[in-house]
Symmetry: C2
Subunit: 317 residues, 2 copies
Amino acid sequence: MKNIDDIAKLAGVSKSTVSRYLNNGSVSIKTKEKLDKIIQEQDYQPNQFAQSLRAHRTNMIGAIIPRMNSFAVDETIKGVKSICDELNYRLLLNFTNLNSELELDALDTFYRSKVDGIVLMATDITEKHLEVINKMDIPVIIVGQSHEHLHCIVHDDYQAGYLVGDILGNQGYKDILFFGVTETDIAVGIHRKQGFVDALKTYGIQPHISIASFNYQEAMLDVTSALQKYPHYDAIVGATDSIALAIHKYNSEHNLYKYIVGFGGDPVTKIVSPPIHTVSYAFNRAGEVAMEKLNQLIQHEIVENQITIDIDDSFKI
Amino acid sequence: MKNIDDIAKLAGVSKSTVSRYLNNGSVSIKTKEKLDKIIQEQDYQPNQFAQSLRAHRTNMIGAIIPRMNSFAVDETIKGVKSICDELNYRLLLNFTNLNSELELDALDTFYRSKVDGIVLMATDITEKHLEVINKMDIPVIIVGQSHEHLHCIVHDDYQAGYLVGDILGNQGYKDILFFGVTETDIAVGIHRKQGFVDALKTYGIQPHISIASFNYQEAMLDVTSALQKYPHYDAIVGATDSIALAIHKYNSEHNLYKYIVGFGGDPVTKIVSPPIHTVSYAFNRAGEVAMEKLNQLIQHEIVENQITIDIDDSFKI
C-alpha cells in the first residue's frame, strides 16, 4: 500500500499539504483538484490514509479559552468535555486571558504537544490566526466566531435578538433602550442588535440604541451616563448579561423599576432581586457539537464549514 | 561525571527515587539518609544532577482545576499564569468538573505530556492521590488544601473567620447565625468556623451554627429551612460567598434586612443590592506563590512543605 509520502511525491506537494487536504483543511483549489485526481487514479480509499495517520494519534484534544470565570465558557467546555469522555479523548485547556496574541501561542503549544485536534474559543480571527491554523495538519474548530475559511460553530444571535424584540413589541412596550456592544464584534455587536431592531420594526417601534462595554465595571459607567440623561424608558435591554446586571444595579440604586432583559442565561441574573429576564443560549450543546465535529474531522470525514446552533426559544416574559 | 543512573545503582534504588529525592519529593527516611551519604561521599553537587535533568525540560506546566466558573479558581490561575509568563513556562489546564477520580487522570495525562511540574487545586487529597503523586519524578504543588507529606499553599482560614467574628462582636451584634459547611472540608468546615467562634467567645457570644451546601441552589434550600424556623437574627454569616448570596436572596424575597457577611471576595457580592460584605482572599497571590515555589522545586531548590497566605485584613463593616 502506498503511503502519504508517495501521494505527496506524485502531486509534487509537501506531506503536510496532503495531510491538510485529508483533514479538510485549507489547500488551494488547484492543489485540491490535483490531489482529488491522483487519489482517484490510484483508486485509494481515504480510509487507508486515515488508518496510517491514526497510528500517530495521541487521543488528546486542546481547547483554547479566553477567560475562565464565565458561565458561557464553562458551559461550552463542559459540553466539549462530555463528548471527549464519551469518545475517550483527554482534554487539555489553554487559557489566554482575552489576549489574542496568546491564542497564537496556545495553538502552537497544542500543536507541539501533538494533540489530535483543537477547539478554539477565539476573541477574534485575525490574518495571523488563519496563517497559523493553515500551517497545521490537525483540524481546528472555532466556537462563537464565524470565518468563511474555517470550521465554525456559532449561535443564532439574530434569532435571539429577534425573539426579545418580538416579545417586547407584542407586550406593548414602546419606549425601549438597547445597550449594544461595539460592531467589531460581529455576533453581538451586529447580528444580535439587528434581530432586535428588525422585530420591533414590525410593531412600528424604533428602539434607542446606546453602546456599553463587555466588562461589567465599564458597562456600569456606560449605563450610568445614559440613564442619568433620560431614565424614563419602559424597558431596557442589555446585549449581554453583564450589561443587564449593570442596568439592574443602576436601577436598584436609583429605585427605578424598569423592565430589564439580558442575553446569555447567566444564573447570576436569577440571584439578583427582582430576577432579570435573559435569553438562554445552548452553550453546552455548542460545545458538544464542536467536539463531535472535531472528531469527524480527525476521522477525515467531511464536515460543513458553518454550523449554527439554535437559541433556546422558551424565553418569555 | 557520574549521572543519576550511577547514583541510583550505588544506592540500590530506582532512578525515579533518586529524582524524587532531588525534587524534595516523598522518599523514606532510610532512603533519604542513604542518598545523603552517597552524594556526600561522591562529593557531588546537586546542581550537576539538576543540569542533567534540566536537559529534559519542556518548559510546560500543568494546572489541574476543579471548576471554571469560579472567581477563586480564575484568580488563582491568573496568578499562576503571570509567573509562568515571567519565567517562560507555558501553562496547560486540565478541568476535572469537581470529580476527584478525574484528578488522578489529569495527573497522569500531564505526566505523560512531560510537563516540568504540576499545580493541583484538589477537591480532596486521597490515599490514591498520594500514591500517584509519589510515583512521579516531577514536583507537584497543592493549592487550597493541606497535606503533611505534600507541598501545599493554603489560605489562613482561621484568621479570616476570626476577623469576621471579631468585627461582629465589636459592633455589638449578639444574635448571630453562621452557615458553615461540612467538616470533611478542613479549611472551610473547620478552620474558618473555629476562628469565627473563638473571636466571638472573647465577647461572651455563642453564635448559632447551621450547615449549608457549597452549591448555591442547595444552599438556598438550607438557608430557607433554617430561616423559616427563626428569622430574627441580627447578623447572618455564610461560610462562602455562594451561601451569603443564598442568604441575600432569601432576605430580599422576604423583606428581611439582616446584616450579611460572606467569605471569598466574589465580585457578584457587589452586584446585588444592598452589597454583601465579604472577606477578600489573596487568590491571585496564592497562585503566584504556588508557581514560584513550583519553579524552585523544578530547579531542585528546597521549599518548605506548608505555606500559608494571609487574608486581606482590610475587611471592615
